[in-house]
């Protein structure tokens, strides 16, 4: 097996299915972090100005607010069912265990406390290097806690193929070939026609012999339709 060309991790569940996990990389995690920093600062500023307007308890609640915003912000939000801080939620991320299970409270505490070490020597240098060096983009806190920040996939994809009249394949196709053709036909609507035709030219192989001038994209899509049981024109 060749080295994988993407960062998808496969985790097997007790039900015997292979879950595909997409780790979130440095850029999106950085953006989520900066958003969280903004949210945290806003919370501190708003609460402190509200409390100092009240003014009965002096500066005590301000210390507590600062403490909670610094240390407990991540823990609290990641223990909620969404398993994500507001920043992560905005960018469609969530925290899970590295084996695909939901994040445990202990792991949540560890990964957020370890932020201190990821921050060292300054400005998250350690954490950033760690994220950039690893395929699964985990910082030290994630490694110690055994967690992973992943994309949350929520939108069910449409089943529409590109255009092409159903037709049987002229040659027998292996299961892998069938899957490749189906995957291509599914992607056609999201490709430019020229690009689709280029890929189709590479993929068509023995199916296309003797058809050099016919549009190959339509042919492949037609075969995919036929394979999936759409036999009528």
């Amino acid at each position: 097996m060749n080295a994988p060309i993407d960062t998808i991790i496969t985790a097997e569940t007790p039900e015997g299915i292979a879950m595909q996990i997409r780790p979130a990389g440095f850029a999106v995690r950085g953006a989520a972090y900066l958003t969280d920093l903004g949210v945290r600062t806003a919370i501190v500023v708003v609460l402190i100005s509200a409390l100092s307007a009240g003014g009965h308890f002096g500066v005590g609640p301000m210390f507590i607010v600062t403490f909670v915003a610094n240390w407990l912000y991540g823990i609290i939000f990641e223990l909620l069912p969404a398993a994500a801080t507001p920043g992560k939620r905005i960018f469609g991320l969530q925290v899970i265990m590295a084996n695909g299970l939901p994040v445990t409270p202990a792991a949540c505490v560890i990964r957020n406390l370890m932020r201190v070490v990821d921050f060292l020597p300054l400005l998250y240098a350690f954490g950033v290097i760690c994220i950039l060096l690893r395929r699964d983009a985990r910082r030290l806190g994630d490694l110690a806690a055994g967690t992973l920040v992943t994309y949350r996939s929520e939108v069910a994809p449409s089943g529409a193929f590109g255009a092409g009249a159903p037709m049987p394949s002229p040659v027998a196709l292996s299961a892998r070939q069938q899957a490749a053709i189906a995957a291509f036909a599914w992607r056609v609507p999201r490709l430019t026609p020229e690009r689709a035709e280029e890929i189709a030219g590479l993929a068509i192989g023995p199916i296309g012999t003797g058809l050099a001038n016919a549009p190959m994209t339509e042919r492949l899509v037609g075969i995919a339709r036929w394979l999936h049981g759409q036999r009528r024109r």
Partner: protein, 316 residues
């Protein structure tokens, strides 16, 4: 059955699970949810094995992935579980890590005692630890004429000090713990430096003749505070050791085990520090309480802490 027939005959039930995922999790019917979840898993396995259309595989893996997160969520957050973690798991883990705790206590108390004696004998030595304004501040804080003992000048009242202790002390404890991951060096550093600081101040204040107020002030809450710092430092040493001497595990696996093992210690210690902060702000600092009453209360608190960690409610 062709792939498209498979999709059209089952899509309704996939849709039902998708709709259930949007509902409030508490209102779910577990039986129906699990039936649908298992069915979708089965369909996903079928779809992958038979090369069904990619969008079917994608849709099923999304819906099973999301349901999986709900099915396997640990509900550790109920009151009963939190109480159990505090009263059973916490002391048990502390006992299991006793050598680390003793090492941490040594690292904290030996410098503290040494510096305490040093600044008691030669008070000017305190200036090598803190600057003269801080020293004067501490002297003022613990002088018997102070209205409230141990209060910073610019922090108004008991509530202010409560917040300050929470932020400061729990922050120190967390630091003692997590920096242990740097091969134990961080815990080492914070334990020793806190020992040096505390010892120097104690010796200095005692040398000024305010030892009475100072020690009755410290005695009560230190039962919780010093213990909690030692526990966090010990847990940090465990992290460091797991990296330095991973034994038969890979270093990463060893660190993960150590972190999981010590997480309840940190949780318990932070609860202890909240108790300590409350005691320190509202009880220890009260100038109207007779020193004798504070001494009795302090003895009771230390006894309580020792019993808490020594008792074994269930044989373990």
């Amino acid at each position: 059955m062709t792939p498209l027939e498979f999709e059209s005959s089952n899509a309704a039930r996939w849709g039902e699970l998708e709709k259930l995922l949007e509902c409030n999790q508490r209102e779910l019917d577990p039986e129906r949810f699990l039936t649908l979840y298992r069915m979708c898993c089965e369909h996903l396995a079928l779809a992958q094995a038979r090369g069904l259309p990619p969008h079917v595989i994608e849709r099923l893996s999304i819906v099973t992935g999301r349901a999986h997160q709900i099915v396997y969520r640990q509900s550790d957050l109920g009151g009963a579980q939190v109480l159990r973690a505090l009263t059973v798991t916490f002391p048990r883990k502390v006992r299991a890590h006793l050598p680390y705790m003793l090492a941490a206590a040594t690292l904290l108390f030996i410098p503290a005692v040494m510096l305490g004696i040093a600044t008691f004998v030669r008070p000017e030595l305190v200036l090598s630890v803190v600057d003269h304004r801080t020293a004067a501040e501490f002297e003022h804080m613990y002088s018997p004429s102070a209205q409230a003992i141990g209060r910073l000048r610019d922090v108004g009242n008991d509530w202010g000090m409560f917040g300050f202790y929470i932020m400061n002390n729990i922050g120190i404890a967390f630091q003692c713990y997590v920096t242990g991951v740097v091969f134990g060096l961080g815990s080492l550093f914070f334990l020793i430096s806190n020992g040096v600081y505390t010892g120097a101040i104690a010796g200095y204040v005692a040398a000024r003749g305010y030892g009475g107020t100072f020690f009755t002030f410290v005695a009560t809450h230190s039962a919780f505070e010093l213990t909690a710092i030692v526990l966090c430092g010990g847990a940090g040493l465990r992290l460091g050791r797991s990296l330095l001497f991973p034994g038969r595990f890979r270093r990463l696996a060893s660190l993960q085990i150590a972190a999981r093992d010590t997480s309840s210690i940190v949780f318990g210690a932070s609860v202890m520090l909240v108790i300590a902060a409350a005691l320190e702000a509202f009880w220890s600092s009260a100038a109207w309480v007779a020193p004798e009453a504070k001494a009795v209360c302090a003895a009771a608190c230390w006894l309580l802490v020792i019993i808490f960690f020594a008792r074994r409610p269930h044989a373990d």
